[in-house]
Subunit: 288 residues, 5 copies
């Protein structure tokens, strides 16, 4: 079994292989242009598969690169991105265990490796969402919104990739192609199960994130409500004092206690009493 | 009929059984790694099923553990989690009634027991949601939000498990496998009906919970609106008094009633009258 | 044709009939336990159907009870809840017209009667929703929220029952069973049409209710906005008066018009003018 | 070809036709009771179709009436509502071109006429939604909410009718019935295309309306935010003046500039300066 | 192979071609009336396809025009809109490479060109959404709402066109028609892949836009909350000063420090101290 590793899609070696194994021009073009969706296509003499490698970026977002695989009866061609350490790592691990194996066995190992590489990405999002959930309830800030938004965007991208990858695995699990021996079916079914479970997780994460946004809005509305109540209490405390002191500040005659030496104390007492009565009334009306 | 109970997935006995009954390595691996989704797979000579045991945690959340079952013509192997009293209880109950029964009959009883064990979990959530509904309308607090969120998360998990379990039951109900006698079909159909009904319930609960969150937001908005009206009324009461007393506090000449011995009383009367007129106007304009 | 009416599910007569007509133990158990979903199951020699009777409770909610029917070649067995006047009424009406009819004809009449009994329930909800719609726009209160929530809950339950009943009718309309003569097919199709139309109505009602909740939130937000504007206008009116009268109340020298006999009038005029200018500015800036 | 036009569903002529052409009693009942959904049913010797005529009411809502059609080999029976000018108009137009045509050709023309009559209704809603969109952004009022709600309700009804009509057209487009000649298939396919496009439009309109409601809420929230900022600015302007003039209004000794003839001017300057500083601080903190 | 280019749908040349190639009157009518949805219809002797050209308008919205194609064994007829430079450009490019090609090859190139022309439109929306996302978080304005709304409307239209175009491509990719040679299948599959990927992108963009609207609302709610807190702080700072200075402004006796030469300073100190205590209390209660 020959395994041709193309480490740069622009490598002219790919053209030589295309000629030798009679690869369809559209497939070679797919390798060259990159940014394909994960997909599988059965062609005369080989199966062409595009898988996606997902990497977490420094800023917490995700980036994707392509890994193209041509599976023939006795050959396998992998075309990876020029700078994609995760793809390199998966291929090297498979290469280490590949000696003496059939092409479809190697192909399974690569597929399995790619699907396994999604797990740390999902774990990363699990942590991010846990953190966001805590934040929206405790201290919702615009920055929380920004991160929620970014995470949502990443999950939308990730979901798309997983849906396509699941279709690829679903196709492989019941492929009638003679290039894949029947004994490999349970293994591809296993890959399918893994992708499905990953997809379930991403759906759950999206549900949780949507919920987090609803909670954010409710939480902020609640805090505004709290602040309003504080304002109302402050206003209630100030009101009688301001009104009564205003009245006693007028240059007019005829107000009680103006001659009394304890006048100010008496009137201040009236102010305090009015405030207390007002607070009690508001409380009884359940207005705060 | 032999029933092999493996109470610890790491037990080497499982390897011996795998060799004896020719269990597929991927299935043994599923037993060892746990945290599988509920699923069913027909293999040569046996049916492999993963069921999920759902337990309510002390904090009101749920946790899940696996119960793996290998059903053969004349044997059954159950692999349970190391510390999972509910699984133990179900198996012991089935064990008590298992003597003289066929493998598929025992298998049905285990499945039925697992599905029955979901009912208390659903009842638990029914109670939680009833309580939350009351809270969002009467006294919405951030803690209510927290609990709504946690319950939502649990229901998302529970729903996933029930969907997978329903697929298992649906598969069993029309299984063409010779390992399950036709007379068992109505019984597995009964299990399927139970899971479907459970799933209906969870969907209803999710709908209600989403509704509860909408109500929360509306309820808080309504309360803020109430508080705003109180503030407006307070402001309306204070305004004329403050403005008029301010004017009479100025060190200026030419204001009416400044010489009158009843001046303060007259002006206070004017303040009160203005306040009442203002309140009536706002009321007529339906502003509060 | 024999029609056996069991008016209490615990009646031992049911056991005798089960033995005589060889009813499946699971079906007898379904009759005894009640609270089944609407469903249909073809068994050897008979068709077992569970229908749901929906009643409007005094508090405006709905309650459901079971009506179980066994349809055989020349017999029909109905098992109703112990206290369920609507079920009784339907059965008595059918009984009045049943003489000389075949079992499948009687069965159709019962099904038709049950489905017809859903119409008043739907009309009830139509009225409730009309009322709620008016309330959310005119005078949204927490009580409106409570009723919206309760209605939503009832509709979720009703929808579930109708979906299951539609499945029952759909099954009957194309049943290959020899127990139902082909000439009855258009009649069961008619039942199916009725249930589908009912279901359409419930979906519409749910859509309207969800819309009502959105409107509630928007309506409250709008009212809060109105109240805020009133506050702003009040503040704008008060501001110049308070600031200017405050300045003239200071024990300081050097303010204009302090010696003028018309001083108070002039300054009051300045206050009024400032207020008007401020209001005009806010208006031009479209701030209220 | 005989075309029997029944202009009043209660007309006893319908019973005579039912006898002559052996119409199924359930279909005659459908004609009599009206308020059926659009549907198609193939019966022995004829096809029974219910179509819906949609009319825009004076208040902007929509009302629906039935148009029932029996299509036989050499006859067509139309049953219209007693007072439904649009149905009358369609039938008269078809009648004008019907001479010498086969029954299925006339039937196509009626169907086509009914589907064409939906276009002005859709145009009406397009205009209403355009208007609502402008309103929610420029000047959201409770009346806008009311109209949004009413439009939503109408669209829900219209959508239901179109879905059912599409099913009718879909059935006709591939009908194996010998009553419809194969050459008519492209024409019925054309009708199907029209209904599908109408349905697309209604879905788009519902999407836009839901969007309009979201925008309404956001728009009101935004305006409230604006009003709050105005309040804050007013408060900021007033605050230093009120506090400082309050302090200078106290009957206490020891304040600076009390003896100065320019005292009031100096202190007023301090007030103005404090206000400006406060506004600049708030601005820098991006609080308004 | 004859390629007839009709550059004005009203051109009588179309009638001549219709007669010559026996085109169905409904198809000619579709060309004349324009504003069809993208669709494909196999007729006797030719395949009729409607494709949509999407153009970005000056105001950022999109407009659509039709491109109708009749594909026969040895002819191709294209009918374009009178003024549609993008359609012209695509056809000219294909024309340049068309010499010596079969009709189905030319047809593929046109389809491919049309689908490729969607990419700049999608890129345009990507940029718009990126910009809107930044705006909703940083400085949400009513104008942002307006643009969000317009973009949503455009995406709804674009999605509809892409869904229909995908159906066309899906039909072509597995067409049994003898007009399309089997070797063209992978090429039409490639077109299908491109449209599907475009559709994925539009769905993602719609998700992001809906998310942006949620963020907008949350962001505005958050800002209102911020403004409320500023108001509360201002109120808290002012309150003690206003109340205490009001009390000392009363024409009453009995207040402390009235005789002291440092009275004003002492009382001002009390004011400041009270303000600080109040701020600390609010802070500790986490009210702002």
């Amino acid at each position: 079994m020959d395994w041709h590793e193309i480490r740069d899609p622009q490598d002219p070696e790919l053209d030589r292989l295309a000629e030798r194994y009679r690869l369809h021009p559209l497939h070679v073009e797919d390798c060259r242009h990159r940014h394909e969706s994960a997909k599988i296509e059965e062609s005369r003499g080989y199966i062409f598969t595009v898988l996606k490698i997902v990497t977490i970026e420094a800023d917490g977002g995700i980036s994707e690169s392509d890994l193209d695989i041509f599976l023939g009866r006795d050959f396998i061609i992998t075309v990876e991105d020029k700078n994609c350490p995760p793809a390199r790592k998966i291929l090297e691990q498979v290469r280490g265990a590949a000696s003496g194996q059939r092409a479809d066995q190697v192909f399974y190992r690569i597929t399995d490796g790619v699907v396994d590489s999604y797990l740390p990405v999902l774990d990363h999002f699990n942590e991010v969402i846990d953190e966001l959930e805590d934040q929206v309830l405790d201290r919702p800030t615009p920055d929380t919104l920004q991160r929620t938004f970014d995470t949502k965007r990443s999950l939308i991208l990730l979901r798309r990739t997983l849906v396509n990858t699941r279709d690829v695995a679903g196709h492989l699990q019941r492929s009638e192609s003679e290039l894949i021996q029947r004994e490999m079916w349970p293994f591809f079914r296993d890959v399918y199960d893994h992708v499905s479970r990953n997809l379930d997780l991403v759906e759950t994460q999206r549900d949780l994130l949507t919920g987090a946004l609803d909670i954010y809005l409710s939480s902020v509305a609640n805090r505004t409500n709290q602040v309003m109540k504080v304002l109302t209490v402050l206003g209630t405390i100030a009101l009688p004092a301001l009104v009564i002191s205003g009245i006693y500040g007028m240059n007019l005659k005829g107000l009680p206690w103006t001659g009394s030496p304890q006048g100010a104390m008496i009137v201040s007492g009236v102010m305090a009493a009015t405030t207390v009565v007002l607070l009690v009334i508001l409380r009884l009306m359940r207005w705060f």
